[in-house]
Amino acid sequence: MRYLIMGSGEIARHLTDSINLKGSRAIVLNDNIHEQNHSSYNANVIHAVYTGCLMEDLQRAKIATVDGFLACSEDDNRNAMAAQIATQIFQVPLVLCHIGNELKYTAYKEIGLAVVSFTLMVSDTLFSNLENF
């Protein structure tokens, strides 16, 4: 399996490691060169740099060939547009998109995007733990 991950930071790093552990390949599209140079990614990971044109960057990162696409950059708008390029233009079978803003998360969910919100996940987990006290 091949996955394209758009984003930098801890979540993208952990996702990449998890994908590698399962024997799949990851392509990481990242706008943070510093992050890339100091990453612990292994040789099973291909890096591509985000330059500003989402469509062209995703094509360079071979989005047409992947089985799954995960948009988890810090920019909600970029994630939403990239996820829609993946589904509408390239028909990627599995697409997941991180939207941090709660209201936008709900709106995009209603529009039909497969969205996750790390912020909501963490706050829900914290809340359910608090309830157990």
Binding site: C53, L54, M55, E56, D75, D76, N77, R78, A80, M81, Q84, I85, Q88, I89, N101, L103, K104, A107, Y108, E110, I111
Partner: protein
């Protein structure tokens, strides 16, 4: 008519001034404080500060009663979010996006943005016209049906000079709408003969443009 413009760059601010001059009710949303100060000095109070791609700021701009939302920031990603949120959350009747990168055109059309203005393509059309020696010039991109309106000028050495329209073997999705001759525009008829300098206004699919170019400019 109430219009919300997101983005107070060169395009957004000039558009706001033009629409106000026409008597429209306009609000501009911008997050850069310097731009806000500049525009407020010119148009007064119709500027809302904030990120226009968030629901909170869109709501504050009164988007729920807007007839048109225009997304004119420098970011295609932001412009898409503005239009989608306005349409789906606030049921804005018409959304218009100005996009920078031609590669994003198809996506905006697919996602139902009502009007997509591709500024790179617009500039290219003007440059093609100004340069003057371009044979095929893009006039309009007609939207989600993937058809363009182009004009083609017939060079003096083209093989089609003297041919009748009925004798041409055009690609399946290309149609001649008008032939502009020296004496004026003429409706296309099969016995109409082409002359050097004639300009054809055509509707075509983007992937047929090269074939058209070859038909009307090719030499024997």
């Amino acid at each position: 008519m109430y219009i919300v413009i997101v983005g107070a760059g060169q395009i957004g601010s000039n558009l706001a001034k033009s629409l106000l001059a026409l008597g429209r009710e306009v609000v501009v949303v911008e997050r850069d404080s310097q731009r806000i100060a500049n525009l407020t000095e010119e148009i007064g109070s119709g500027v809302v500060e904030g990120d226009g791609s968030t629901l909170e700021v869109l709501k504050a701009s009164g988007v729920s009663r807007a007839s048109i939302v225009i997304a004119a920031t420098e970011s295609d990603e932001t412009n898409l979010a503005v239009c989608q949120l306005a349409k789906h959350v606030f049921q804005t009747p018409r959304t218009l996006a100005v996009i920078c990168n031609p590669a994003h055109d198809a996506l905006f059309q697919l996602l139902g943005i009502d009007v997509v203005i591709n500024r790179t393509r617009l500039i290219m059309s003007h440059i093609e016209e100004e340069i003057g020696n371009s044979t095929l010039v893009h006039q309009v991109s007609s939207g989600g049906d993937n058809m363009d309106i182009v004009s083609i000028s017939i060079p003096s050495d083209a093989a089609v000079v003297g041919s009748s329209l009925g004798a041409l073997d055009l690609p399946p999705n290309s149609f001649i709408c008008l032939v502009v001759k020296d004496e004026g525009p003429v409706l296309p008829k099969s016995d109409l003969s082409l002359a050097s300098g004639d300009r054809l206004i055509m509707v075509t699919a983007p992937d047929e443009e090269q074939v058209l170019y070859e038909i009307f400019t090719g030499i024997n």
